[in-house]
Each structure stands twice: as C-alpha cells, then as structure tokens.
Symmetry: C2
Subunit: 447 residues, 2 copies
C-alpha cells in the first residue's frame, strides 16, 4: 500500500508563526508522547507509523515546502514537487505518475491519498486501514472516508451513503458545502462529511490521467504538468466515479488552522520564553523570539511572536486576521531549509536604497550550502560555533569559531558543516533577495 500526503497551503491565518515558507502543518507546537514538540505533519507521520499502515509515504507539495519537509521528516519519505500550484487533481496525478513511472509500482497497488495535517485519533488510521482492504477487495473503484458529523456545518462537503449497516457503504451522491438548512436534512439521511481521504488502485487513477497526459517518463510528466486541468480531485474523480464507497470515521477530526482551534490542543499556556502573571484566563502565548514575553490580566487572548511579527488577539477575533496579514507580509524572517535554518536579525534600507541584512545561519552536520555566486551583494560571515569547510573561488579552508570571511559579489563560495555550524552573515548591497543566487556544481570529494 502506498500513502500519498497532500501538503499545501500558505497558512496566513496562523501569522506570524506561519508564512509562505512555513505553512501551519510545519509549526512545532504539539506535544508528542515522549514530551518533545512536533509539528502537525510530524504527528501524522508518527501516527501512520504507529498504526503500522505503511512505510511507503510520498508527499506531494510545492517547491517552497520542499526543504522544510526534508528538514522535519528526514529522507524517509518521497517528495514530489509540483512545478507550479494547480489543484488537487493534478497534484495527485503527479504523485501517481511518480509511483508508476519512477517507483515502478504495479497497477493493482492500493493507494490512499490524505491531507497532511488533520488532527485525529488512532481510529482515523484504522479507518484508512479498512479503506485499503476495501480497495484491495474491489468493493468499489474509489473508497473514501466519511467523517461522522457533529453539527450541520455549511463549510464541508457531504457524502450521502446508501442506507445500510455494512462497514463499507456505497455512495449515493455528493453535496458540496450546503446551507445549514440543507445540512440538517443531510444529517437525517445519515450523510457524512467528506474527509478528503481517497483510496483507489493505481491503475484506476492512471486510466483517468491518460485522458489528459501520456508520457513515458516521470520527468516528462513533470515537465508537462501545466497540461493537466486545474480541477479538484473531488470534481474530476470522486463525483464522476461509477462505483464509490465510503468508510465512516467517528472521532476527533480537527483542522488546527486558526489560533482559536490550535490553542485548544496546546498542552501548555506558554511555549518559549514566556512568563505568565497569575491573572490570566484561557490565554495562550507562543514566543519564538529570544526576548521574554510577559502577560498578565488577559482573558481569551492569544499572543504569538516570531521573527515575522507579533500577534495579540482576542481568540474570537483570530479567524479574521487573514485580511490584515497581507498588509503585514514582509520577506520571510525565518526559514527551515534542507541544510538547516536561518533567521533574519536585522533588515535595514538606507535613504539611497542601499541595504543591509543580518542573519544567523545554522547548518546541520554534514550539510552544505551550494557553490554559488551573488551578483548584487557582498557577504561577511563570522563563524561563532562548530567546524566546517569553506570554499572561495576553488580554495578550500577549514573554518571555526572566530574566523571571518568576506565574500565579495561575483565570487564563488560554498560552505559545508563538519559539526553543527553557526555563523552570523551580514549581506549588503543594492538588491538583497533570496533569488540573487547562481548555483554551480562542486565536488566535495567525499569530504
């Protein structure tokens, strides 16, 4: 069985902790059973493994999330990166093409597609296991998960099953986001919420894809991705399918996508360097900055701070922040990359347009920054911890604490961490953007 996780979203509603480079599913705010902190996607992967579902996991995502996935999940998952953002049908098609054309999976292999961040319980993964059996046993071409509704919501799609008490129910019809009155009637018909979890055999999906795009290799499929229609999997596959079954799941099923819902699941009222006075009520404070946050006398408030900014908001008002966040967006101030992390410490533009940007950069052991040049900026690196190899215009030297290197524009440079390596970088020039980078191959020769 192959599991495809869909990872997308910009997560503006969890500003300032989430941004385009760190969607909500990557925020390390949940407490794992061992007491460490984990992100939503780390929690789902842990739950998949604990349920013994499969170790064949492929994450379909976009380029901006590639590095953070590698950083959070290691290289134990496959990552398929969309060349551009389209919709769920093309994203699932790309992952399907990867499984057939790159991994050589057979046509009768069972595939389950799920979102990467639902906050659920063990029974959810048991339901996925039953979906797998139903697909393998040919109960239907497409098997999906139906969430037992807790109220007549107008914000979910509904799946109306045939009446019956079997574990696998045939689907009579779909209803997209109804009004509340319609939702109440749907509940009387035992309708279920569409959980966005789909099971099918690989060959079934391939036949649908073949109508749009047939290629010999995955690389060609990837290159011609824009030929796939911009349509959701629900519309293109689920609603057109001749034979659809649903397996119900009853239990916790939450989208921790707003501060209001996320804080309900936090194990502590203060995360990070936080001091709480004794007059707070139902207040949650998450501080990712080094400086302390002190709160007192607050009721039903969420405080969140990161290098991107500071949010102080009544929980009841926190669902509306999206409209303000566009005004607040700046360059990313913190990013997880495949090689480690960086944080912006200072970002100054002088009157004449000259800019200076100061970062602290940490490379994980064995990782390296690619051999590169910048056309618009100089960089000064002061190494403050760890050991590494630094290359400047082909000359390699060992660097460590107290060493300073001055990299002028148009000079080739790279650095590799031998141990966890930290340095302060001061960029300066007329144009300071992440895109001012030209990469070249470099052979570390086994170092």
């Amino acid at each position: 069985m192959q599991l495809i996780l869909l990872s997308g979203g910009s997560g503006k509603r969890l500003w300032p902790l989430s941004n385009n480079a760190r969607s909500k599913q990557f925020l390390p705010l949940l407490e794992a059973p061992d007491g460490t902190m984990e992100s939503m996607v780390q929690r789902v992967i842990r739950q998949v493994r604990e349920a013994g579902l499969t170790s064949n996991i492929t994450i379909a995502t976009n380029a901006s999330q590639h590095d953070i996935i590698v950083n959070q999940l290691g290289e134990t998952v496959n990552i398929v990166t969309e060349p551009e953002r389209r919709d769920t049908f093309p994203a699932i098609a790309l992952a399907t093409a990867y499984l057939t054309k790159k991994m050589n999976c057979p046509a009768d292999e069972v595939v389950v597609v799920m979102p990467c961040d639902p906050y659920t319980e063990t029974a959810y993964f048991r339901a996925i296991s039953k979906m797998t059996e139903a697909v393998a046993g040919d109960k239907a071409d497409l098997v999906l998960m139906g969430i037992t509704p807790t109220y007549p919501s107008a914000k979910y799609g509904y799946v109306v099953p045939e009446t019956g008490s079997a574990e696998v129910l045939q689907v009579k019809r779909f209803t997209e986001k109804p009004d509340v009155a319609t939702a109440e009637k749907l509940l009387q018909e035992n309708a279920l919420w569409n959980g966005g979890v789909f099971g099918f055999k690989l060959g079934y999906m391939c036949r649908i894809i073949d109508q749009y795009l047939q290629t010999d290799t995955f690389e060609e499929f990837h290159a011609r991705y824009s030929e796939l229609p911009k349509i959701s999997f629900d519309y293109e596959v689920a609603e057109k399918a001749q034979s659809v079954a649903v397996i119900p799941y009853t239990g916790k099923w939450k989208d921790l996508g707003t501060w209001n819902t996320l804080t309900e699941e936090l194990s502590k009222n203060g995360i990070g360097n936080v001091i709480l006075g004794d007059k707070n009520e139902n207040t949650h404070v998450i501080n990712e900055l080094g400086i302390p946050v002190f709160c007192d006398g607050l009721k039903d408030v969420v405080v969140a701070s990161s290098p991107d900014g500071i949010l102080v908001c009544a929980k009841s008002a926190s669902e509306n922040i999206k409209t303000y966040v566009d005004k607040l967006s700046t360059r990313p101030m913190y990013e997880e990359r495949r090689w480690g992390t960086y944080q912006v410490l200072d970002d100054t533009t002088f009157n004449d347009g000259y800019k200076a940007l100061t970062k602290t950069i940490t490379l994980n052991p064995g990782k390296n920054i690619s051999y590169q040049i910048h056309h618009h900026r100089d960089e000064v690196w002061t190494f403050i911890d760890g050991e590494g190899l630094f290359v400047l215009d082909g000359e390699v030297c060992k660097v460590g604490r107290g060493d300073v290197v001055h990299i002028q524009k148009e000079h080739l440079h790279a650095v590799k961490a031998l141990t966890k390596l930290t340095f302060i970088e001061v960029q300066s020039g007329d144009l300071l953007v992440e895109e001012d980078i030209e990469r070249f191959p470099y052979d570390w020769g086994g170092r």
Copy 2:
C-alpha cells in the same frame, strides 16, 4: 535663578521600554506641539524654556543616565553625576556645591529644585516663577510648591499651611503619607500635596551642607560624596527649616510612571510599526521593534515591545509588573550613549560557555568611541552606512560601506564618525560584558 532637576529611578514599572539605562523619563512617547515625539524630560525642559524661567539648568543624576541625558538634551544643560546612589539631600547638595564651587554662583542666587518628569501644565511653571520671587523677596528660607489635592491620597506627603488667602502661605507642619482617614481631615485643613519642588537661596543650603562636608573644590566634594548622610531633602531640610512657605499649584500633575497612567496621555493608540484591527477598545500599543505588531479584539490592554522584551497586560494589572520584571531582566538590549545608540540583535551562549553577541551600532556625526581594548572578546565590524575613521593599534584608515574590520582581543581600536556611521558588530568570546573595556587616550588631531 538656577534650576536643578533631579533625575533618578530605574523605571521597572514601564518594562520593557524602560530599564536601568533608560528610566521612564527618557522614553520618547509624548507628542510635542510640533508633532515630533519627545520624552518626559525633554518635555519639562521645553516647558521651562517656553515659560522663560531660566536657561541655567543643572541635572543631578547618576552615572548610568549621563549619556542618555547628553543624547536627549545636547550640551545645553549642566550634568552633575553622583559617584553613588544615596538620597535626595546628598544629590541636591552635590548640585549646590557644583553651582557654588564650579560655576561661582553668589550666595544670594535663587535656586529651585524640581523632579525631572512631572506631567503638568503651564501654570506649574508660573508657580515656580512665583516661588523664585518669594525666595528673592525673603518671604521664607525655603519655599515649596503645594499641589492642590484632588482626593485624599495616602501615597503623598502633605503640607499644612497657615490659614490665609495670600499667594504665599507660611507652612504650619508636614505630614508624611497619612492613612486615608487622616488625609480626609488634612483636606479639611486646606493641606496641599508636597510636590517635591523647593526654592532657596544658595547660601542657605550651603550653611546646611557645611555641617557635614566642607571642601575647597567641587572635585573634592565629589570625591568625598559618601560622607554625606543618606537622607531625603524633606527630612534633612524642609522639616527642620524655621521658615517655610508654600505656593499652591492647581492643575494637571501626574506621574506617568505606570502603563496605566502613561497611556492616558498618549496621543495615538499605536506608536511604531503597529496595525490595529477594528475591534480594539481603549488599547494602546507601543512597538520599538522593527517587526510589525498586529492587535485585535482587545479591551483595556497595553502592549509594549522593545529589544528587551514584550509586555501584554491588562491596564488594571500593569501596576504589578515590577514583581515580575526582576525575573525578566537581562543585559540591556538597547542603549543611548553619548556617541549614539546600539541595539542587540542576537545574544547566544553555546553549551561550552562560548558566547556571541551581535549588535547594530550607530555613531552620530563627529562622535567617536574611545580608544580601547577588550581582554575577553574579538569583534568583527561590517560597515553598512556612512563614513568614518577607524584606528587599529595606532594605524588610521578611512572606512565606509562594505568595509570589514576584525579586531582581535588585546588590540587597541577606536572609531570616529565623519557622517552618521552604522555598522554591524559581532562580538565573540568567553566573557561578553560591557565592563570588559580598558580605555586609553587618543589624539584625533583635529580630525
């Protein structure tokens, strides 16, 4: 007439904006008539000048406030620095000795002593003018200002005058912080609050001081400062005086020493990079960080952020923060110095005790950092704006944008700004404290 302003206090109750290096009176939060922002002490000095009181102003303060006073008030005021913190009598005695022994003021010169930060109106300075006249006219040895009380407060000292309707009333007795019931009786006697403003002739004060310390020069007086008793001016002078008069002042008289009182006088709800949603009520946000602060749905809350930390507090709870601030105190993260300002961007200690501290430093034009060595740290400076002269072990060179200097421990260095000069400093070593500095003379030779 000579005006002595007393400037002290650590201002923990306005954390995180105030700290030991920046007491409440130096926070630039008030709006001046011309629309610019000014601090409490800048406001008082402006009011003194607008009232045409005097241009002979001496500020008595402690060493930690010396540089910020120079920075905020320029060199238009005299500054007398206590060698150690004692009490108001020795502080006023030191300023008196400065006026007699250094400025050669005559014994019949009128002196008025006042706090540096009361938030008042024009009439307050008219009352000071009347005090000056009363002292000059020998109405009493000591003339003080009585504030017309607005409620029977238990936190102020009271001055009980003889009955009468004269502008200058003789004082019958003093009562230190009474209970509320006593305060109510005092109000029936037309008692006034003691405003801490005192007028006297220089010779009068000199005779009192002579009982404790007689020196030929101000320098000797300064050196023997610890011989003066640790006692307040009220106890040592006012309560012992044979002839005391009071001049009443009726009008605004506030100590903007807590977030609750300070925010009442702010002209805007958001100061700095602040975005307010439309659901806030009576909420004030002051942001001294570069990153944005977004607030919504808050009622009666103050939010303040600075490089020292972030406060989010119900206004009603803000008077109690002092008890928590001791836990929050770190090294100063922002300081105004006589040469300019610095801000700490990052402060990291590694597992083995090695430290790195990154600052942005700005020198005002013409100012210099003293010629110095450090015994415990290396420094790397990357110049990002302006032009200056840099000295390393006696060698001078011109520096500007893009230049990098690496100053290793035990090497003499200095820098002088030709234009406003900004650089990023990365300090690293085993001990990173402001005190690790040894200063040497350096002759800039008119440069």
